[in-house]
């Protein structure tokens, strides 16, 4: 198949899937089957682009042009390839998990839920493959809007309030700052195309560039830099599969992915070194990283703790992007994948605990490990991956990040990363310790083994194994991502 049709298909499959899901809404089993089939079809389509990107090609597609120089275009480069594979691959697992969860937790409106999920994946793919900032912005907004009904899913007052915060912050920052930054970039640089090495050098003076960087980083509200991080804990009112795939992978990673795209392909690492605001924003990210970890320590609600942990981990990636060297940028890109696997496992576990026991608070989880050994073992593995301890994949991304900080001579950042790792241990390991080592409450005692439904447990085991597999697979991943910095890829069409 040609490049163009593969890209179109990657976007078209989830859309077609959404329509089929709505059409089959009346027959629950068929609809759920369609959801999984769509996810599998999408993943295989995306996967077919991989060998071309590995060979150094950059598949392109120009959909249409609004006015000269500005159009909706797609170009698949290594980072986008990884993000698209990650989102679509984990969608398969999440789709299976969601079926088990939605039935187990007796949620309503399954059809609407699965349909909007498909749209969210469609927009995530659009973000991954976007060839210029305008296209990226377009899909970024669709992603915000399509996930709003998912956050408000329960329809209770709390859910609606959470969803309003979610929509308010994400729309406000994106329209107020991100769009403004995009418009200003167009005005100053004359183009919005993602180009290796950036488009700003020589066109935008560092004064304007400094302002632009601040506007971009705060405009990308999905990257959850403080003080615009409140939407992420607010989004935790959503059913757990949403938290797992969207608020640990697709939505938040779309945010940091955009940060990386902007820093690497719009500003360019060399140009960023001239900017006064680079270091300022670096320390904002480092502050977020530490502060969010501290807040996470104090959360008793498991999902809230995981949410703040995500805020902190996202800042690892932003930090990596702003350390301004290739090792750190590589580490940041790898962390997108490593953290995704770790955190989705943790969220899956939180959901499984809820489905099996209706418990949401960590202080209630004493002794649960004996009843749900698989779930808590997986939680332990996911936690180790997020913390960055071998033999989990997470170790490699943190390794690169710290190396990058060393190379840049940022001693303070190295220190902050170390402290944060200790904090990670401090808030992720206690739930496991409570579950396995403390005696259960009297009301919970006995009852033997009581895991969540099979459709919940199998995905958990799968992603947990993924965390371990990434320890071995880090090398090919790093090689693929290394292509980001090649300005003229070998064999690419001129």
């Amino acid at each position: 198949m040609t490049d163009a049709s593969l890209i179109l298909l990657s976007l078209g499959v989830p859309l077609a899937g959404m329509m089929l899901i709505i059409a089959c809404g009346r027959w629950a089993a068929l609809r759920d089957g369609v959801t999984v089939a769509t996810a599998i079809a999408m993943f295989t389509t995306v996967l077919q682009l991989l060998p071309r990107v590995q060979a150094g090609e950059r598949p392109r597609l120009e959909l249409f042009e609004l006015f000269p120089g500005l159009g909706v275009t797609f170009e698949v480069e290594p980072l986008g390839m990884v993000f698209a594979m990650l989102a679509s691959g984990l969608w398969i697992i999440t789709a299976i998990y969601a079926i088990g969860y939605m039935r187990g937790a007796k949620e309503s409106h399954h059809t609407r839920f699965h349909a909007f999920f498909a749209i969210a994946l469609f927009s995530a793919t659009g973000i991954a493959f976007a060839g210029n900032m305008f296209t990226l912005f377009l899909f970024y907004e669709v992603l915000t809007l399509s996930t709003y009904p998912l956050v408000a899913h329960k329809g209770t007052a709390a859910a609606r309030a959470g969803a309003r915060t979610y929509l308010g912050i994400l729309l406000g920052t994106s329209v107020g700052f991100l769009l403004l930054a995009t418009l200003a970039t167009w005005w100053l640089a004359g183009t919005l195309d993602f180009t290796p090495g950036g488009i700003m050098a020589g066109r935008v003076d560092p004064g304007h560039g400094s302002i632009l960087l601040v506007l971009f980083l705060y405009g990308i509200g999905k990257a959850a830099l403080m003080p615009f991080h409140r939407w992420l804990p607010a989004a935790m009112v959503a059913p757990t599969p949403v938290s797992a795939l969207l608020h640990a992978v697709a939505v938040v990673k779309a945010g940091v992915f955009t940060v990386l795209k902007v820093t690497i392909y719009l500003f360019g690492i060399d140009y960023l070194q001239e900017l006064a605001s680079s270091d300022v924003m670096l320390y904002v990210a480092v502050f977020t990283l530490l502060a969010a970890s501290l807040v996470a320590m104090r959360q008793d609600n498991l999902k809230a703790r995981l949410a703040y942990s995500t805020v902190s981990q996202l800042s690892y990636i932003v930090t990596g992007a702003l350390l301004l060297n290739q090792i750190a940028a590589l580490g940041a890109s790898m962390h997108i994948v490593m953290h995704a696997f770790g955190k989705i496992t943790l969220f899956f576990c939180a959901g499984a605990i809820y489905v099996a026991t209706k418990k949401t608070e960590i202080s209630d989880m004493n002794g649960l490990g004996r009843r749900m050994p698989i779930t808590f073992t997986a939680f332990f593995i996911g936690a180790l991956c997020v913390i960055g301890i071998p033999p989990m994949g997470g170790v490699w991304s943190k390794w690169h990040l710290i190396m990058g900080a060393f190379e840049g001579g940022y001693g303070l950042v190295v220190l902050a990363l170390m402290i944060s790792t200790l904090l990670n241990i401090g808030y992720l390991i206690p739930p496991v310790v409570r579950a396995f080592l403390l005696p259960p409450k009297e009301s919970d005692a006995g009852g033997g083994l009581r895991e969540a439904p099979l459709m919940c447990v199998v995905p958990i085991a799968f992603t947990a194994l993924g965390c371990i597999a990434l320890f071995v697979l880090a090398q090919p991943l790093a090689e693929l991502l290394g292509g980001m910095f090649v300005s003229a890829p070998p064999g690419a069409a001129p």
Partner: protein, 493 residues
């Protein structure tokens, strides 16, 4: 034949009007003749538009009398663009009008209604094509008097008061315009716009000319509803018959803006208007207030027609803001918005017309559950609403993009930010309507309502669809606007 096209543009409508009046017995026949007239006018407008699209200029001497004795018509890229807007809107609104007017106007008055409509239409076209200052005033009065009659025919009795209010304000406006034109005539001895432009520089540094500029600017500002001279507009739009609101909202203020542009850029010239008299600094604060205040007011309206009327005042603010930047890019954004806002607002008011036709009223309480009862109408409303907000891939976005570029070009960063903020305000008031229509259940009275008739739905969708088409393929509007801006900047016709 083709050399008479500029005259035909006006003459077709003016001749058809009395004929339509005489067909008083049959409303249907009057409608049919009016529709044919509007289509013919649109065809002529298109022919003219393509003829000047290569940058040429058509001049036409009325009755063969050469200026300055006779009246001259001049068509260039700028007013051909406005002609297309007027022609297109009237051509699309006529099929829509048949059912809507039959419902809202008593049968005995339908012929008179269409006669007045043709006069208003011909008046607006006349203002646009003529190159004679006094003639502009005459056509302003023709279209205005016809409009007062049209608005007064609204079903609600408050329509009479609104019409009277508009009459007072409109007459003050045109009188100011006439005084200004008189001053110009005293000083230069000519009424031809081209001659005026040539002779004004000699006498520019006199109090009379500056006073003339003031009178003309304020007079036209009244007609185009520049904040805070907009007070006639919300009532007029709210109580006029649906079809009249569609037509006036899409054309009347646009033509007035065109006249302002013609005087400011072509007759007085860029140097006099923007450098000597710093007009940009007068317009900019008014435009900004005009965007902000009516947008805020719109958020709190419960009558959807009035809500959109206030939004129209805000949109005029956008167009004036583009002018106030005193740059080609800003001018382009304004000229572009004439078109983009015309199709957007006409589509919205047509959707409102469909809702009125079925629901009998247009306050938010009438709309509960309309999303389920009238899905196509509401979908058109939402589509055009997105364009009003300025969402990417709609016509409104193409304007907003250029307007913000113009703001950045001038170094007005805070204004760029403000423009994005006011988009959120627009999102807020459109969302208010959407929330009621889609998330509330209808009361018993309106539970059995059906979708609007096809003859109204299709024209609505033609315009709603074109907001998306011109949002995706923005090249046509951008190029036309560039040509029009060049023509305006270039000097007098």
């Amino acid at each position: 034949m083709t050399e008479h096209l500029p005259a035909l543009q006006v003459a077709i409508g003016l001749t058809a009007a009395p004929v339509v009046m005489m067909l008083g017995r049959s409303g249907r026949l009057a409608w049919a003749l009016t529709t044919l007239t509007c289509w013919a006018t649109f065809a002529v407008a298109l022919a003219l538009f393509f003829e000047v699209s290569d940058g040429s200029v058509i001049t036409y001497q009325m009755g063969g009398w050469a200026p300055p004795w006779g009246i001259e018509y001049v068509i260039d890229a700028a007013n051909a663009w406005v002609l297309v807007i007027i022609g297109m809107i009237s051509a699309v609104v006529m099929p829509f009008a048949r059912r809507s007017v039959e419902r809202e106007i008593s049968a005995s008055r339908i012929a008179m209604f269409y006669c007045a409509f043709l006069l208003a239409n011909a008046g607006l076209i006349g203002i646009t094509v003529t190159a004679d200052a006094f003639n502009i005033f005459v056509f302003f009065e023709i279209s205005a008097l016809a409009s007062y009659a049209l608005i007064a025919m609204g079903r609600d009795r408050r329509a009479l008061i609104s019409s009277f209010q508009y009459l007072i304000m409109g007459t003050v406006g045109t009188t100011f315009l006439l005084i200004g034109i008189g001053f110009l005539y005293i000083m230069t001895g000519t009424l031809n716009l081209g001659d005026l432009a040539a002779r004004l520089p000699e006498v520019a540094d006199t109090r009379t000319i500056r006073a003339a500029f003031g009178f003309i600017a304020v007079g036209i500002s009244l007609k185009l509803a520049l904040f805070p001279l907009h007070l006639w507009l919300p009532n007029a739009y709210t109580y006029a018959p649906s079809m009249v609101t569609v037509f006036l909202s899409a054309t009347a203020t646009k033509v007035a803006i065109y006249v302002l542009l013609r005087f400011v850029y072509s007759v007085f010239g860029f140097q006099f208007s923007f450098v000597d008299l710093s007009m940009g600094w007068v317009l900019m604060p008014l435009a900004l207030l005009g965007i902000l205040v009516p947008s805020l007011v719109a958020v709190f309206q419960t009558n959807v027609k009035r809500l959109l009327a206030y939004s129209s005042v805000a949109q005029v603010g956008y167009m004036i803001l583009g002018i106030s930047f005193a740059s080609t890019l800003g001018l382009m954004a304004s000229v572009m918005h004439l078109f983009n806002h015309a199709i957007t607002k006409a589509a919205l008011f047509m959707a409102i017309g469909c809702l009125v036709y079925r629901l009998g009223g247009i306050s938010l309480t009438h709309l509960a559950g309309a999303g389920q009862r009238m899905p196509w109408t509401m979908a058109a409303f939402v589509t055009a609403g997105l364009s009003l907000i300025g969402v990417p891939l709609t016509a409104g976005f193409v304007t907003k993009w250029h307007l913000i570029q113009a703001a950045l070009e001038g170094g007005y960063w805070p204004i760029a930010l403000l423009l994005l903020g006011t988009s959120l305000l627009a999102a807020l008031y459109i969302w208010k309507v959407v929330e009621v229509a889609y998330f509330q259940t209808p009361d018993d009275e309106h539970a059995q309502v059906k979708e609007a008739p096809l003859s109204m739905l299709i024209p609505t969708w033609v315009l709603a669809g074109s907001t998306v088409v011109f949002g995706i393929y923005g090249n046509f509007t951008v190029n036309s606007a560039r040509a029009a801006a060049t023509a305006l900047m270039g000097g007098a016709p």
